[in-house]
Point group: C2
């Protein structure tokens, strides 16, 4: 009757991070809801989770979880784990719908501490962390994207604004922000967080040095 | 020339959590900017940080950091650590201004992963984690507080809304939310996260069971 939320590292190349508690909890479980088995199997193996443990994988094509497996586990009142691709399950990923159902069925939800790219980027940005908004990805379509960014520039006066971009489109977004944001706005780029080649840099838009951002997971933050 | 952001546990009573990397980094440092020395000294001792290490404490009365210590450390280009009361430094605390200055002076900012009550509560809420806004504390004054909460009820339709309340005022805020929020709104209470007596519960406002919330650090989340 317990659903454990097991955080995953942001990158396989991150320094070893699995906490004693994480391994202890994971080893006690036989059922795991996972966003992508290929991404988390190494972690489970590393921490000594039984090879017999069942992994129920999210289906990105249908955009849904295997609820039949879910029914079975939850009917048995068995303990289960939830693991998504990177970071905290349920934050900027499809994990939240498993958690919602667990609440509805009276399960105790136990989140384990671990990395979240959103709060790590905010901590390292030097932008005010008292109020902030996370938006996920910006729209792709040109007009909607322009309007969205303009909204963020205004909103950044009161709340630090955080968005992410796909590895492939990150260099283009940095260029767009440098070209369209107010010159005094503070713009932070958090690239490949927790990796050796990662960095977090914050400058006013007008002072951003020329930089060819390599492709990679990147968050963009704006504030005053 | 490195400023390390060292997360602190959310509670002293939390299960042991300090990561191998945390201790390794902390032991290599001689200078720490800390929100409250009394709160973090046990952690530094536990991880074997030298008793000679200097702790520069935030002054909550002046509402500022000891910038003269800061100047000294940063003029020497010495590595330093930043530790606030609980969670990730710079997120919902005064740590961000040290980080901002580090960026301005060309320091490399390196955030270490650790717990943040905000993302832990979001993960465990079962509310959508794709878009969310964190507000800090609600206003105390009656009229401003009512308007603020009404704004949140509307905003919760698109973005999960997150706020915190002081331990003493948390029971009262839960009562207010139950009395004034739309009956179908999903309301999550995340109380004493990571502690043995902690819990996270989510129900529609109309179905919230009677509960005398004990005093303690609590986050409130709303969504649809």
């Amino acid at each position: 009757m317990r659903l454990y939320l097991l955080p995953a590292p942001l990158s396989r190349k991150a320094p070893y991070w699995a906490y004693p508690l994480w391994a202890e909890v994971a080893k006690s479980l036989q059922h795991f809801f996972v966003e992508r088995a290929a991404r988390v199997r190494f972690l489970l193996e590393k921490t000594g989770v039984s090879a017999e443990a069942a992994l129920y994988e999210y289906d990105p094509v249908r955009g849904d979880w295997p609820w039949e497996a879910y029914e079975k586990v939850f009917t048995q009142r068995a303990a289960a784990g939830l693991l998504t691709e990177a970071g905290l399950p349920g934050v900027a990923d499809p994990g939240w719908s498993v958690v919602r159902r667990a609440h509805a069925e009276g399960y105790t939800v136990l989140p384990l501490a671990g990395p979240s790219s959103i709060t790590l980027a905010l901590a390292a940005s030097g932008l005010a962390g008292q109020r902030f908004t996370f938006w996920g990805y910006p729209p792709i379509e040109k007009k909607a994207r322009r309007q969205f960014l303009q909204h963020l520039y205004r909103a950044a006066r009161d709340h630090t604004q955080i968005l992410m971009e796909t590895p492939a489109r990150s260099p283009q977004l940095l260029q767009e922000l440098k070209e369209t944001a107010p010159p005094t706005l503070l713009l932070c780029v958090a690239h490949r967080l927790t990796e050796e080649e990662g960095f977090v840099r914050t400058y006013p838009v007008s002072q951003w040095p020329p930089l060819t951002l390599p492709k990679g997971p990147t968050l963009f933050l704006m504030g005053v």
